[in-house]
């Protein structure tokens, strides 16, 4: 019974087709536990992002059910659902006509928090993601890629949602900034204990951030493994990944 309670997100025989009949996801079954970071790993077109969008109902399953806190997303109020699930995507998702402060404060604002409380929350979040308070009045185009990404994460965290969806949030960054943000992600997650679904195509990122790695290929879930199991797995596709990233991993191991 205990484990039942820990399932925050659950996929039950979920398939998803486009209107034109193309099948993007086939019979997905997995769950994400409370406080866990599940990384969806796979190449472009493997269905990772589609899987993520099923959780906040940007897509609806063609068959099967996605349960969030035990309730099927089909039944839930979609606006409520989305506001209880933080969503961070590659930096293009910031509102270009809003200042940093308005970008971060958008969800509290539409949830009708009083303005002074929104402002306090924005200040708190800027500090939490390691941004200078004076950046609040800047526009996204005036920020560096790394800063924009932090704003994106801060925006997703604004209304303190228990669940966080992150779609290649560090994808467009240079390797040094990327490593820096990955480190901060880990320390942040240690404090906040959110339930996180994180999409990446970078094996190294997956192994660093994940409690468990879900490997996807052609719309199917190949396997879910903890990082140390992943490195030892005999699964052919896993071997292929380890091979492709092999030199890079060794390299990082030495540094």
């Amino acid at each position: 019974m205990m484990t039942e309670d820990h399932r925050v997100i659950e996929f039950r025989h979920v398939s998803f087709r486009l209107a034109n009949g193309r099948e993007l996801l086939r019979d997905l079954n997995f769950e994400i536990h409370r406080g866990e970071t599940l990384v969806l790993l796979g190449r472009s077109g493997s269905g990772k992002t589609t899987t993520l969008k099923l959780i906040n109902r940007l897509h609806e399953p063609t068959s099967g059910d996605v349960l969030v806190n035990g309730e099927s997303t089909r039944q839930s109020d979609v606006i409520r659902l989305r506001r209880s699930v933080g969503y961070a995507i590659q930096d293009v998702g910031l509102f270009p006509h809003f200042t940093v402060a308005r970008n971060i404060g958008i969800v509290p604002q539409i949830e009708n928090w009083p303005p002074d409380r929104v402002q306090k929350r924005v200040e708190e979040l800027l500090q939490l993601v390691g941004l200078e308070p004076q950046l609040a009045t800047r526009y996204p185009r005036e920020l560096s890629g790394g800063q924009r990404q932090r704003v994106g994460v801060a925006r997703a965290l604004a209304a303190d949602p228990p669940i966080l969806l992150m779609d290649e949030p560090f994808g467009a960054l240079d390797p040094i900034t990327r490593a820096e943000l990955q480190r901060e992600f880990l320390s942040l997650q240690k404090r906040l204990r959110k339930t996180i679904a994180f999409v990446t195509h970078d094996l190294h990122e997956a192994l660093v951030l994940a409690n468990r790695v879900a490997l996807m290929e052609d719309g199917r879930l190949v396997t879910i493994l903890a990082p140390d199991e992943f490195l030892k797995s005999k699964e052919p596709l896993v071997a292929k990944y380890l091979d492709a990233f092999g030199t890079q991993l060794d390299h990082r191991g030495q540094s």
């Binding site: 969008k53 906040n56 940007l58 606006i79 409520r80 659902l81 989305r82 506001r83 969503y87 995507i89 590659q90 293009v92 998702g93 910031l94 509102f95 270009p96 006509h97 958008i106 969800v107 539409i110 185009r141 925006r155 997703a156 969806l165």
Partner: protein, 210 residues
């Protein structure tokens, strides 16, 4: 007698006709905006309507202006007064640029930004008012600008049905075979068009994000 001399001598009439011209154009653009922007928004929400609506606006645009004035003449209430007729015709001509720019402006907002908004839990209304419209505003104003400049030119033809405006001079000059009189209508009309273009261009730039 040169054109400046003529305009100076008749400056009261020139100002009157210019104001009349401005009024015809101004009211028509107001109507076109009041109808065109909501219609443009509607067809981004109901994509099946986009083809018929844009198609209809397109067809109106291809009707020659003199013919359109003639077509509308038998319309009840509208046909009773020349200025009503002129305003209706100018409004119809102004619709296409306004509808089309509203539609494309909203459609061209970065889909990643729209999806992020959806994912954060903005309602459709909030998405429209807080994200899509502000980001499309520059393009929408550009449509109003095109409509206004076209209307300033077209409104000269309204004089043919007796609606007044600077076209009075142009038609009078044509009848008298007097270039000075034609220019006395054409020059202020051209200046109005340039003024509208520059001021709305400035507004467009101010309101465009980024």
């Amino acid at each position: 007698m040169n054109v400046w001399h003529f305009m100076f001598q008749n400056h009261i009439e020139v100002v009157d006709l210019t104001l009349e011209h401005l009024w015809l154009v101004g009211i028509s653009i107001l109507f076109a905006v009041a109808i065109g922007i909501p219609l443009g928004i509607l067809i981004t929400r109901r994509p099946v309507l986009s083809k018929p609506v844009l198609g209809a606006a397109n067809i109106i645009q291809t009707v020659p202006s003199l013919a359109l004035f003639g077509f509308l003449l038998p319309a009840p209430w509208i046909g009773e007064r020349a200025d009503r007729l002129a305003i209706l015709a100018l409004t119809l001509y102004s619709l296409l640029p306004v509808i089309r720019n509203t539609y494309t402006g909203i459609r061209n907002v970065d889909p990643a930004v729209v999806e992020a908004g959806r994912g954060l839990g903005l309602t459709d209304r909030q998405l429209l008012l807080k994200v899509q419209l502000p980001l499309a505003l520059g393009v929408i104003i550009a449509g109003v600008r095109v409509a206004t400049v076209i209307s300033v030119g077209l409104a000269t033809i309204a004089a043919a049905i007796g609606a007044g405006g600077l076209g009075e001079y142009i038609f009078r000059g044509l009848a008298m075979v007097n270039n000075q009189v034609i220019l006395a209508g054409a020059i202020p009309a051209a200046l109005l068009a340039i003024l509208a273009d520059v001021s709305l261009g400035w507004l467009e730039k101010r309101l465009s994000p980024g």
